[in-house]
Amino acid sequence: MTLRVGYAGLSHLGICSAVAAADKGCMVVGYDPDTRIVEGLKGGDMTVVEPDLDDLARRCKERLSYTDTVADLGACDLVYVARDVPTDDYGGSDLRPIDALIDQVAPVMKPGAHLIVLCQVPPGFTRARRRPGLSLFYQVETLIFGRAVERATKPERFMVGAADGETPLPASLADFLGRFGCPILVMRYESAELCKIAINVCLVASVGVANTLADLSERIGADWSEIVPALRLDARIGPKAYIQPGLGIAGGNLERDLATVCRLADETGADAGIVRAQMANNKRRADWVLHRLHEHLPGSGATIGVLGLAYKENTHSTKNSPSLALIRHLTPHALRVHDPVVKAEAMLHPRLVQVEKPLQVCDGADALAIMTPWPDYRTLPVEELGFRLKGRLVVDPFAVLDRKAAKAAKLDHWVLGAPRH
């Protein structure tokens, strides 16, 4: 029998998860109360930018349908509530849209169907939503912006929260998850909810270590890029460890989880000092480019090229984007910006020109800041870039440009973790 899976809430998480389920042979119904989103998806507009998403959706279109009628979920064996949880600038979550979806979906589900919360909810959320006659589960989502399709179709493991964590999963849910061929870990709701947070806090801690030591490297003449390979070869740290320095966490999800840990710790008397230190460190990292520009440019009147507006590569998201934060503080200067998918809003800066091709940001610019490591930027011809720049200053936190080539082009090339000069 064909497994029917519904996804309620067609934001980034819901769309990518729905397409992945269709890829595994399920008949998928995507529901969203917003007619415009549904009509867009029906017309082939995936509304989010993710590598391979459009292609995969096209290949699975026979098994994918979209609706703004919640009753259409009534035939599904499993219904995922999969809307991304909106967050504010301080990492606070607005859970009302999730509750609204649960309230819409639960009454229309057929007997024997199961509701799975896939959203980023705080510990305690799922158990508090149990109600008579509703089979309710929580599943940890591990979507990564820019790698969402890969993560949704080839997960490393599933973590599923259940009421008691000991009863076997119902057959339909076990069947569905089994199609992905990865381990399935079943645990209590609260454990699964905290598990999601724990993953993110571990990642933030790793990045925090990298940021702290990269900063120190810059100040004492060490080069963090020389240290990273040594760390990766340490089995206790590992080849995929999050030890590349960055401009602080962004995107909203990690910030939300850190805020949740602090709130829960405050409420229960646990010590969250280390998490607060990570939050402070991350705020500081976002200013790294601003400091380099400020130290090397006059107070006003310069032209600065900015490559990248999205908060990271391969996404359209600008939530807490270091690039946008930087641009807001460059008001005494003129800006030339480029991003492959994000359009700069006019409100962002009084003298901002968005150009079509990356190298055009360099034309006549006194300095260049490479704020998003889009893959296309890595192949820019450094010599030509240097030729088109009026000044020599290139602030390139992620070392998008080849460092040797930058040196050969006589660029004043600043990279996170590299010795200051």
């Binding site: 402070a280 500081r284 200013d287 601003l290 400091h291 400020h294 006059p298 107070g299 006003s300 503080h329 460059l330 008001t331 005494p332």
Partner: protein
Amino acid sequence: MIEHQRQPAASPARVVVLGSRGFIGATTVERLRKSGIMTLAVPSSELDLTAPGAADALAAKLRPDDALVVFSALTPDKGKDIATMNRNLAMANAVCAALGKQKVDHVIYISSDAVYGEAPSLVDERTPAAPDALYGVMHLARELMFRSVVAANALCILRPTLVYGVADTHNSYGSNRYRRQAAKEGKIPLFGNGEETRDHVLVDDVAELIRLCLTHKSTGILNAVSGRSISFKQCAEIVARQFDKKVDIELKPRGPGAVITHRSYDVADCRKAFPSFRWTSVEDGFAKAHRDMMAGGGG
């Protein structure tokens, strides 16, 4: 992070400066007048804030559209004891009482980075104030006093670090004292190896920062710090280089139990609030102070 209540920037109707003959106060008055801002300088000789009736006298001078800048304080060279702290609190009490009688448009309180005590680097405006000496306690108490009587959208608190300039009267350990010792004795004594690091700001820059806060009607807390810390030995070496004659740097043993401390600042808030503002480098600033001294400006 401070916020600007006035965009675009414009001169306030009038600036009243309390403590206008002090080191930073006098420089600020000069800076404001040079930029055409109407300024009423009120030195302690004209208004003793510890005297009975000081609050009424001050209230009588104030207008609703004034900006008030409060420098008045007995600095540590005048005493570090409880009595000095209480006199400082009495001054603030008088100013707060005056503000209770006559509100003004904007208040800038010149505090001190002493409120951070021995907080480890990196310090920024969100570092919890934890003073470890009465001077820092006094400034923190005065900050809270002003916050209790002035609305948040009208109060700016500036916390300067070590301020240098030829007209300095405090002669604290640092470049001002080094310059005078080098001129007078041909040597600069340092404790230990002078390895402790501190941030140093030129008084003219602090005055300019105050002017910017006034014209933007900035509110909130801002550290008046450059973001570059150097060791006292580096500081002494830069001062010594200004002299034509040889200046010896003498290393003296520290007292028993002396702890080496460092202080560095994150200046992101200042750079965001005033993106065109630049601090004078210590190399240029120390040279200026030296030139001013040689020109007979003090010192």
